[in-house]
């Protein structure tokens, strides 16, 4: 565990002492009564509306969606990821075709490019002329770093982008690359070649979700007295509030993942006018997590690969899901779509493994690596 994590655990425990008094059951009872009265009223109103206008259809954009609420038959399979002891026996395939970082080195095909800074870079995407990164600099304190956005070039040179530096409060968290690779966005939209500011994000932008073909999607500031929304925006245009919360933007495409934490989530097409067309919905373990670049397959929260057209779901791990929690807070377990047909993932803190989304046949793409918290892997999907 890092110094920051140790400090965090200690401070979280100290901050909640002494123990608060118990909640009164009467308070909960009152809330239950109020909730029941409200639900009864809503049902009555809904019933009256239905009786008065039976042909009204409340548009959800889900008419053509394939809805999966119950766990489908996940067929046993002898493909997928084998037990950790057997991963080394998988056939050896080509190195990853997308960039990936290991410690302070960026791997691009056979090329290894040193990355400046410490703590492992956050590789955000591919731009014209290199790779857009966030690096950690200058550990000033056991758990305090300064971070820097910049472009890493193939010759190892690093060009900082000072116009994206997060200074002062508030500022925009996270960053993204434009679909054409010419611009990057964070605090502002800047030209990836010159670093010059092209446009400033709207003032309420707080958390950048991604940059797809329809534009930049961000969340507004999280305030207790406002209902925050996901917003679609392109430079020079007005922000468009979206009807649903966007949790993921598939880079370079019009596809997004929407929905609530812990509930059902949808794969949808986000149009330039802000409208959403639901393509697929999953719930309770089958919530979509990663959509393939061509939008045909989804990796779900229970690590199943789902064919959106047929709804067929197959577990990525052929047997029981390995216990990636041990050792705890250790190297990251990651998965990305290497391309529309293949998933790339870290396995057992040792291997990079490639699996076909169609056949679930897997092969080793890199390793053995000694992946540790201080020497971690960062997989980058295609732009």
């Amino acid at each position: 565990m890092t110094d920051l994590e140790t400090m965090l655990r200690t401070k979280l425990r100290t901050a909640v002492e002494p123990s608060p008094e118990p909640i009164s059951v009467e308070a909960v009872t009152n809330r239950v009564r109020t909730r029941r009265r409200r639900l009864t009223t809503m049902a009555a109103v809904g019933g009256a509306l239905a009786a008065a206008i039976p042909s009204v259809i409340i548009a959800t954009g889900a008419d053509d969606a394939r809805d999966i609420h119950d766990t489908p038959a996940i067929r046993p399979t002898d493909v997928g990821i084998p037990a950790p002891a057997e991963v080394g026996s998988l056939p050896l395939g080509e190195p990853p075709s997308t960039p990936w970082s290991f410690g302070q080195t960026l791997h691009v095909g056979a090329q290894k490019i040193p990355v400046p800074g410490t703590g492992g870079p956050d590789v955000i995407g591919v731009v014209e002329g290199g790779w857009f990164l966030l690096v950690e600099r200058e550990q000033f304190h056991p758990y305090a770093f300064r971070t820097e956005y910049g472009i890493l070039h193939a010759d190892g040179g690093f060009t900082p982008l000072p116009n994206l530096q997060r200074t002062g409060r508030p500022h925009v968290q996270e960053a993204a690359v434009s679909p054409d690779g010419d611009q990057v966005a964070g605090q502002a939209v800047v030209d990836a070649n010159t670093g010059a500011i092209v446009a400033r994000l709207p003032e309420q932008a707080s958390y950048l979700i991604g940059w797809g073909r329809s534009g930049i999607v961000y969340d507004e500031a999280y305030e207790a007295d406002r209902s925050a929304k996901s917003i679609l925006w392109t430079p020079g245009s007005d922000p468009i509030p979206l009807a649903r919360e966007v949790t993921d933007v598939v880079s370079g495409s019009s596809h997004v993942v929407t929905g609530k934490l812990g509930g059902c989530r949808e794969v949808a097409d986000l149009h330039s006018d802000g409208s959403l067309t639901t393509l697929w919905r999953g719930c309770h373990g089958l919530s979509p997590v990663l959509l393939s670049p061509d939008g045909t397959h989804v990796l779900t929260s229970n690590l199943s690969v789902v064919d959106i057209q047929t709804g067929e779901a197959t577990r990525l791990f052929g047997a029981d899901e390995p216990d990636h929690a041990a050792p705890d807070r250790a190297p990251s377990w990651q998965v990305v779509w290497e391309d529309s047909a293949h998933l790339l993932l870290t396995v057992d803190a040792t291997w990079l493994v490639r699996c076909s989304a169609l056949s679930l046949r897997c092969e080793r793409a890199a390793g053995p690596l000694n992946i540790t918290p201080g020497n971690d892997v960062n997989l980058i999907g295609p732009n």
Binding site: T29, T147, L261, G262
Partner: protein, 175 residues
Amino acid sequence: MQEPVGFGQFVAARSPALLRSAWLLTGDEALAEDLVQTALARVWPRWERIYRSDSSAEAYVRRVMVTTYANWWRRQWRAEQPVAEVPERAARVDGYAEVNDREEVRQALGVLPPRQRAVIVLRYYEDLTERQTAGLLDCSIGTVKSQASKALRRLREQSWATVDDTTKAADRDRP
């Protein structure tokens, strides 16, 4: 309206622990109490089905609490709070304002989006594993890891900014 069997004892025994977690999530004592009451009210109709032990029921209530919290800012949740509840909130007095760690944690967590804050609380206060956290939030282990990583980076940057501000203030004060 009859209280489900065992519900009162559970609330008396476990609500303090739930309030602690809720405070870390919301940063406000009144909101924390709202969150726990909301979660308990939602669990009430299903109590007899979910209760097997205090610990299993608590895990269920925590799940409802965390997902309720993470989705609160997505709608005008205050519209759901009945006016009749206000006196109960007002009766509680915040006796912790002078504790430095509490304020520091409240401010630090306050800059994180709800999902990241939930991951930090579950991982570093509840001590859940990545797998347990992913199961509770219904997301992948990789998502838990990336959200925690982003949150920790954000906290490190904030620490830098705090240290930087302190250094600048010290420089200004230096004769």
